[in-house]
Structure formats: C-alpha cells, structure tokens
C-alpha cells in the first residue's frame, strides 16, 4: 500500500534540497536561467521581495498564470508563497501541483493570530523563524522545513545572521540542559515540549533549516552555511544584480564549497554590481517583514 503526504515524504523532500540554492523567479525565462545555473528549486513569484517592498500595498499569492508558466518551464521543484494563515491560497497552490508552499511573511498576513494547520496538507510547507521557539511552533503546526526570516528584499545579511546565530545558540543551550529544565524552557520559548525534547536529544531541529532574507552575494551564502544553514534561499539577490546568470552560478558554487575561500574568490570576480542594499535601521518598524508571524 502506498501512502502519500507522510511526514517522512514531506520532510525528506527538504532533505534532498540540502547544500543547494533556491532562487526567486518571476517568469519562465528566469526559472530556466535559475535551473541552468544549478538551482535546486525555484520560488515562483509575481514580484521579488525588493519590488514588493517598493510597491507597498497588500501583497498576495502570485498571479497563478505565473505559477503555471514556471511549473511548465522547469523540471526542478517549484515553490510558491501563500499569505500567513491563508489556507485557501495554500489549497489553491497545492491543487496546481506546486511542490512546496512557503507560508511567508513577505506577503501581507491574512490572519493576525493563527498560522495554517500544515499537517492537513499533502504538499509540504516551509516557514520563516527568528528563533528556536518560533521554529518549533511552525514545526508543531506541520512545517517540514524552516528558514530564517532575515529581512527580505533588503540585500542586507545582518538579520539572517542574527536569526541563525540566535537559533543555533538556543539549540546548544537546550542540548546542554538537564532534563528537568526542559518544561520550563518550553514555556519560556513558547515551544511544544515534545519538539524541544527532540532538540535536547539530537542537538538540531527535526527538519532542514535554510537561510533566507538578505542573501545578496556568494560570500553571504557561504557565511550562512558556516553558521549552520543547510542551504540558502536567494530572493531579490540574483535577478536584481547586474548579471543574473553569472551571479546565480557563483552563489551555487559558493554554497557547495563554502569552506574553499580561493574558489569563492574566483567565482566572485567580475560579477558586476550586486543588488542595492538597504540599511535595516532606516526601515520603519511597520516596514519590517520579519515582525509578521506569531
């Protein structure tokens, strides 16, 4: 008897993405460039995060004709974003055959209290997190993959670094705790106890953990791998750079060989200008996408 949509199949799909780069694309042409550069998956969007930021207003699930166009254009997995709590957008994307759904703070949240009950779905979900408690709450709701939130569309790596370092430090702390301290820690973090128990025993999250939100250069990608990321999402970084094709290839190579600095130097030469970055402190509180999610 075959069983679809099991936890192992959903989490396993993310395991297969490890060591790879997932790239944001807005049409079939970009999707093909990403695939040819060695992306392990593409995220089909109507606008990359930096353009969403610039456009303002309510950001919703992408135009479905773009999602369909990308699904047809490439043989690698295709992800798409649904608004936080918008389970109908997620169901619609699932029905179209999208391979992974990002319940994403890049879009305007549809629910200010609750996230999607992701256990109900056959398609797996990835969710953003800034710390261990948030990651374990999302996993508790059924997320099969976690990524740092960072600050999307800024080309500024500082927030992704902060989130990854926070998570890794909290994991080390939980791992070294005595068993009797776990329940109080679960309460403090707002994390499900059983998942915290898993972290205590195994010293890692029960799912794959990627970096996202501000990765703009090959060195940024390698930095996140050093800090413990299993792989990298690059949003605006590639197609907002001067030479997307070269940029994409360079980020893929730097992610695979993140400890080989000569190689990173070689692939980083002559790339042209990266995307223009934004200083985080210049962003008003309301403009910070990372604050979305509960």
């Amino acid at each position: 008897m075959a069983e679809t949509g099991t936890q192992r199949v959903k989490r396993g799909m993310a395991e297969m993405q490890k060591g790879g780069v997932i790239m944001d694309v807005v049409n079939a042409e970009q999707a093909k460039i990403a695939e040819a550069a060695g992306a392990v998956a593409v995220m089909a969007l109507e606008r990359v995060p930096s353009d969403i930021r610039a456009a303002g207003g309510v950001a919703r699930m992408a135009d479905l004709s773009i999602v369909e166009e990308v699904l047809k254009a490439v043989s690698i997995p295709v992800m798409a974003k649904a608004r936080i709590g918008h389970f109908v957008e997620a169901r619609v994307l699932e029905s179209m055959g999208v391979d992974y759904i990002d319940e994403s703070e890049v879009l305007t949240p549809a629910d200010d209290l609750y996230h999607i009950n992701k256990k109900d779905f056959t398609v797996p979900f990835v969710c953003g997190a800034r710390d261990l408690g948030e990651a374990l709450r999302r996993i508790g709701e059924g997320a099969s993959m976690i990524r740092t939130k960072g600050e999307p569309g800024t080309g500024n790596i500082v927030e992704a670094v902060r989130h990854m370092r926070t998570m890794q430090a909290q994991i080390r702390k939980v791992q070294s705790m005595s068993y009797d301290e776990l329940m109080a820690e679960a309460k403090a973090l707002g994390a499900p106890y059983e998942l915290l128990e898993y972290v205590h025993k195994n010293g890692k999250l029960p799912v794959v953990n990627f970096a996202a939100g501000g990765v703009a250069t090959p060195s940024d990608a390698a930095l996140m791998m050093h800090l413990g990321a299993d792989g990298v999402f690059v949003g605006s970084g590639i197609f907002k750079s001067e030479n997307p094709e070269k940029y994409a290839r360079a980020i893929v190579e730097a992610t695979t060989h993140y400890t080989d600095y000569e190689l990173i130097a070689r692939v980083s030469k002559g790339l042209g200008a990266p995307m223009t970055g934004i200083e985080i402190s210049k962003l008003a509180q309301a403009e910070r996408m990372q604050e979305r999610g509960w």
Binding site: G5, T6, R8, M13, M16, G19, V40, T122, V252
Partner: protein, 191 residues
Amino acid sequence: MKIGVLALQGAVAEHLRMLEQAGAEAVAIKKPEQLKELDGLVIPGGESTTISKLMHKYGFMEEVRKFPSERKPLFGTCAGAILLANRIHGQDEAHLAVMDMTVERNAFGRQKDSFEAVLPVAGVAPDFPAVFIRAPYIREVGESVEVLAKYDEKIVAARQGACLACAFHPELTEDHRFHKYFLDMVQEYRA
C-alpha cells in the same frame, strides 16, 4: 573499507550515517582528488541537474566513470540513479552513463504524488521501506542488468556488475539492509 559519499548537494549526511552504522568508514567527497582513496562511492539523492552540473564543473565525470572498471562499486539513490543511467527519457544526453538502462525523471509525478511503500528487494530484504520523493523509475534495462525491485510494474531498483541503483531513498529510513548489500558488493569486488 572506505566509502565516499559525493557531497556536492543533497542528502549527504544521511548516507554517511547509514554507511557508518552498517560498518564502513564513510567520507564526504567534495573534490575529485579525494576519490583515489575510496573502495566505493555513493551518489546521493538531491537534484540531479544541480549535482551533474557541479560534477562536470569540478572534473568528477571522468574519474567516477572509471570506478566500475577499477572494481570500485557505485551506488546511486534517486538523483544518483539518474546520474548512473546510460539513457534519460526525453533528454539527449546522459551523465555518467555506466548502467545499461533508461530512466525517466519525476516519473511518479510531482511532490504531492511522493509516497512510501514496503517492497520486496531481491537479495536485500522481503520488506524494504521505500521512500519515493519526486522519484524517477527505470523504463527499461539491458540484458546484463539484474532487476532487484518493482513497484506497480515499474522497475525501481537494479544492479549491473559493480553498479547499484534505486529510485527511492534508503538513507531516509533506519533500515541498513540496502547499504549492507552495497558494502557486501564492495567486499566482493575487493577480494
């Protein structure tokens, strides 16, 4: 016995753990220079397009292709099986082309069609837990290829001499019997 796991992209850590638990010394292989010291190599699951591009880029193709003739077994799971095949359905070019078979990528459908099933695998186990993730299957095999497992009439595991391929992911389970089978192959070819 020293077994490498090609560590360019994909489920590398899972294979390393399984090989160690099955009794081998396991190393992650990032550069072709590391291949010399090995008795066998595992090509893991991941994205076959990504892994093959990086293999070409860093000069892995020629070196790994020599493995079977040097009596060093190869084991490809999912994406790894695609890399081993002589022919890929719907594509002009194959990658390593060391096994006489035609594979079809994403042949069971997209991620929502990914599934688990318990299968008999000849020589490995009567009840192996097989995890299929956007999996390929083997459309047809040459005469010298032994079919080890089928699911729904489709070939999902096969062996040709020193090459072993399966469409599913034994590395995502706690069952070491498939890795043990591969280590026995390595032992046999070393003798």
